[in-house]
Symmetry: C2
Subunit: 412 residues, 2 copies
């Protein structure tokens, strides 16, 4: 369970593939009310319990008719029908439609017995209070939504592993489904380390800096659908780091440790992560810049990540490996496709084939086109974090890119 | 205050411009902790209270040196320096660097007095335990982040009206800012109407249907950053609709009423909305399909919207006019730019110049390209809601579009 095996640097997807082999297939679930279900993930497929609509409805404002009564009608030779009252909204239409008659009907109104079509009010002309001329023939079923035409009882509404959107909740409401089984959000333990790091609420002594990663990673985890538990800052002492990591593992479903910035701290973090449980470290180093010194591990069924201490690197790696793991633990089926905005590169960028580059950039619209201007300077400046509004993604196998090239930019 | 003035159909932006004239310039604010501040909106600009870093730091693992001591160093003729111990991580470096010496330093370590540069460990070669050869000259300031280089005291970190992202919170944490003034989320009252509509928890009698809009609009409002209060379903009776609307107005900052599906109900809703307060209805009908029968009004300082009863239309219009109003009430400065995915049209679409068309579509990836397949059939089928994953936006002045044309699709 130590990290003295030689690990080659692997692509983020390969690191995740190794991790996912050890993860359970399905998430634990709980029953929740519809008003708390936005963005939650379905634990089982949802079927329609009934036909919708439950009765034939009019799709238009107009007249319920027998289609046969309008056969051959035209502007020149309209069909003449007696108006036999109005279909009440929100009540059963029980009065059968007699031949040669029409009943006034509103959008959503229930089609009366014996009626089989609706004529739009635009294609009628009132004659007097009790009769109307129909100017066009109606085909049977015209402007009628038949019973179960929208959804039939037993139809699959939503698959398992689907993240519930506003409209999904609306459809469930329409069918009287007011509770759903949703996966339980995984609990993520966030632990920082480094002798030089102090909590944000503290005034740092000379030589010390406040913790950034606990805050950024918690926010990213929260947005990904996890529940966050904080485990503070561990000093660069193996026993204390391990004690805190084990405490986090005991009460959480996955743990992220952001290492201090020095090499010795990173090595110690790797060593502690490897000792937490079986099978231990699965990837030590991933092919991404920034973020190479990342550790992906599995400790007795729970994922553990060692992230770089640099705040920009930690955020980038969190998005690449921790967010997909949270989604997997949530039972989400679809692979996340972060919305990409195509933009042109405001200056040429060097890259190296064989690794993914994620470059913080300022997105700006100029003359109708989006341009991405890379934020330069040392990557460990926190000002980079507030200035950047996007991440330029340079794929694994691309080399450098010239100024003006089109790139994919994800929001940051 | 009645709606008997003649209202022309206006573009959504024009309806909003009329509304925003009557809205206060700034939102009310409250002080909140950083851990509750994700996605909240800053009520005032935030300035850096201190220099960051607070001391000159090393950006690399290596040796702190006097740059002058490395002048002319090369692989052939290295500079020879005495190693005078190590800079402790997380503590003040108080021991001045004597001429001809180097101190081991880690990334993030504090630069010792008299040192002015850092040599990366890669460009050094140990001689013995107390001396090292430097193989390249160091320029003054090399690999050093100077005091205040990242952020200086008084620098603006974030403007007012900015929605807080994970990284913004991280930067605030770095500077010891653990509380921020954020705008108070506006409270939105959601009221449905229609004799045929019953709450989702009810078993509908023949002729009745369950309310969809209360659920979808609440979810959309929640996502836009508002707090939601539900006011149930009003029957098609003027007095009762007005009573409920006034109750909603009394306790909320804005109100949306989704009308029943019949023309008579819509007319009554328009009449009630016009009577709620001054100046009343500002736009009756907007140039968008679906969603034309929309009412935008202002009642004594509070926005009121009458939305179509059709669930797809109600969602589309909510996104076009209610979400921008919520953003305005939140004090958000940036105009929302919904992430657009360019996709090709899977079949030709008719449209009309002079209106915006929003067409629900299924987004699919085929042979490396995204295709948007419009969901056809009556627009009032709720199955459309679950099937569609995107909204194709056809701009105000475009006519129809041929199959294969590139269109902008926003997530739905």
């Amino acid at each position: 369970m130590t990290t003295d095996i030689f690990f080659q640097i692997v692509a983020p997807d390969e690191a995740l593939a190794r991790l996912f082999e050890h993860l359970p297939r399905s998430a634990r679930s709980e029953r929740i009310g519809l008003n708390a279900a936005l963005d939650r993930v379905t634990a089982a497929p949802l079927m329609s319990p009934e036909d919708s609509p439950a009765f034939a409805r009019s799709a238009m404002d107009g007249y319920a008719v027998r289609a046969a009564d309008t056969y051959g009608a035209s502007e020149g030779l309209p069909a003449f029908l007696t108006v036999d009252g109005e279909v009440p909204m929100g009540a059963a239409a029980t009065r059968p439609l007699r031949p040669g008659t029409a009943q006034l009907i509103h959008t959503g109104g229930m089609l009366p017995p014996e009626a089989d079509a609706v004529v739009m009010v635009e294609y009628t002309q009132p004659v007097d209070e009790t009769s109307v001329e129909v100017l066009r023939p109606a085909a049977p079923g015209q402007h009628v939504i038949q019973t179960g035409e929208d959804l039939a009882a037993g139809d699959e509404l939503l698959p398992a592993g689907h993240q519930l959107r506003a409209q999904d909740l609306g459809v469930l409401a329409a069918l009287g489904i007011t509770e759903v089984d949703a996966s339980i959000p995984p609990v993520i333990g966030v632990l920082s380390s480094g002798d030089e790091v102090v909590p944000a609420s503290t005034r740092p002594a000379p030589g010390k800096v406040r913790d950034v990663n606990a805050t950024t990673l918690a926010a990213l985890a929260c947005r990904a659908g996890a529940e966050v538990r904080q485990f503070g800052v561990a000093p660069d002492a193996r026993a204390e780091l391990e004690r805190r990591a084990r405490k986090a593992l005991d009460t959480c479903d996955l743990v992220v440790i952001s290492a201090g910035s020095s090499v010795s701290t990173r090595d110690m973090t790797a060593d502690v992560i490897g000792s937490l449980g079986s099978p231990g470290v699965l990837a030590h180093g991933i092919a991404v810049k920034p973020g190479k010194p990342t550790i992906v591990a599995m400790a007795d069924g729970k994922p553990v990540f060692g992230l770089p201490g640099n705040p920009v690197s930690a955020m980038v790696v969190f998005g690449l490996v921790v967010v997909p793991t949270i989604r997997r633990l949530l039972g989400l089926k679809a692979k996340e496709e972060p919305p990409q905005r195509p933009a042109r590169l405001a200056r040429s960028l060097a890259s190296q084939s064989g690794r993914i580059d994620l470059v913080p950039a300022v997105l700006q619209r100029r003359e109708g086109e989006w341009w991405a201007d890379p934020v330069l300077g040392p990557s460990n400046l926190i000002a980079t974090l507030v200035r950047a509004s996007g991440l330029i993604r340079i794929p694994l196998d691309a080399g450098g890119l010239p100024k003006g090239a089109w790139v994919d930019v994800e929001p940051f």
